[in-house]
């Protein structure tokens, strides 16, 4: 039952998806590749597509993996799986949240969890860079990639450029680059 497997696996990912989407990329990759739903390089593509789509990155990646594994039904199963845990938590705990949020135990857990999540996000960035040959044996490609990365970071931090504008303009630069090379 691949649909059930998709649902349960993404449900498990949903339970652990603290700290927003990017931290979950390494988890989703590990689960999806080890289940044979998607190859590592196709997964990298899906992160690019997820990044230029509206909506949460983790959910978008789930949709992509689900669709690749089992068509539209797979995409639905993966989306429901990754979304349900937080909905259930809200339904079960409801208004108690206001008290739990500032409890010393909750604060302690988040004190420990936050640096771990930051490491997950930074790792996701490094892994994506390596898989896309941003850092590779090809000197010119690496140089181009790193200069473009510095420009991207500058635009995000200091110019507050909208993510979609950044992605689309870099895509155009890529196409123009390819056109020049040909």
């Amino acid at each position: 039952m691949m649909l059930l497997d998709l649902f349960l696996t993404f449900f498990k990912i949903g339970v652990f998806s603290f700290g927003g989407g990017y931290a979950m990329i390494p988890v989703i990759e590990h689960e999806s590749v080890s289940h044979g739903w998607i190859s590592s390089s196709a997964f990298t593509d899906s992160v690019s597509v997820a990044g230029m789509s509206p909506g949460p990155v983790a959910t978008n990646t789930a949709i992509f993996v689900g669709y690749k594994a089992a068509g539209v039904a797979g995409a639905i199963a993966a989306t429901l799986g990754i979304s349900l845990p937080s909905l259930l938590i809200i339904v079960i705990l409801g208004m108690v949240f206001y008290k739990i949020k500032d409890h010393p135990v909750t604060k302690s857990i988040f004190y420990g969890l936050r640096p771990v999540i930051t490491a997950f996000i930074l790792f996701a960035a490094c892994r994506f860079a390596i898989q896309n040959h941003l850092v590779s044996s090809d000197l010119w490609k690496s140089l181009f990639g790193i200069i473009m990365l510095i420009i991207a970071l500058f635009l995000l931090f200091y110019k507050k450029v909208h993510p979609l504008v950044l992605i689309l303009s870099f895509g155009v630069i890529g196409v123009l680059g390819g056109w020049f090379m040909a």
Binding site: G20, P26, G51, I82, L87, I89, F123, I146, A152, L166
Partner: protein, 202 residues
């Protein structure tokens, strides 16, 4: 806080979140202005400062900030049916858009221009992820323990083939225990101070 539960309210919830959903680019925080506009100004479902409460809770529980906020606001307005209606409103538009993009992308993915576009996009995506990660450092690395926890986690991810979920749980448990010990220590210190203050007063 719970309003009269009517089909009309549920329908309004669904439509409101359907409209907010497509603007959530690049992480949940992009929805804050749209959320305020709809919830506070248009429908008067909650007050401005309640939006901040909703967001802080949405960050605390697992899942995306956008979906969690929708679910929580849905819960406050219309109980459990509200959770599902608001979430469905939040999920459906982006689901359809992303599914469409995925289908289209899988058809054109081997076209040379598409590969070049992806080559150009790669540094932008790395930049976006790094941007998200670097922004969290300020609040996540409070002290030297957190710094070691972050570096240790990174090395485990990078150098071993351990299941990331296990690393997440282990790191969270280890860091949480240290956080708890620190909390206990600071509470004890306060109590000591309290006692010594009392003895001075006497």
């Amino acid at each position: 806080m719970q309003q009269r539960l009517s089909l009309k309210t549920l329908w309004q919830l669904f439509i409101a979140f359907c409209k907010i959903s497509p603007v959530t680019f690049g992480g949940g925080y992009a929805i804050i202005p749209a959320l305020e506009e709809a919830m506070v100004n248009r429908y008067h479902w909650c007050k401005r400062d309640e939006i901040l409460d909703v967001l802080s809770i949405a960050q605390t529980i697992p899942g995306s900030v956008a979906l969690n906020s929708a679910a929580f606001i849905g819960y406050r307005i219309a109980g459990i049916p509200g959770v599902f209606v608001a979430s469905l409103g939040m999920l459906l538009p982006t689901f359809l858009i992303v599914l469409g993009l995925a289908v289209f992308f899988l058809i054109i993915k081997d076209v040379a221009q598409v590969r070049w576009a992806l080559f150009g996009i790669a540094p932008a995506v790395v930049g976006l992820i790094l941007f998200a990660g670097l922004r969290t450092i300020k609040s996540s690395v409070e002290d030297i323990v957190c710094l070691f926890l972050m570096i240790g986690t990174f090395l485990l991810l990078f150098l071993t083939k351990m299941n990331p979920i296990i690393i997440l749980v282990m790191g969270g448990a280890f860091g949480g225990t240290i956080g708890w010990i620190k909390h206990k220590k600071s509470v004890n210190k306060e109590q000591d101070n309290e006692i010594s203050r009392h003895s001075v007063n006497q």
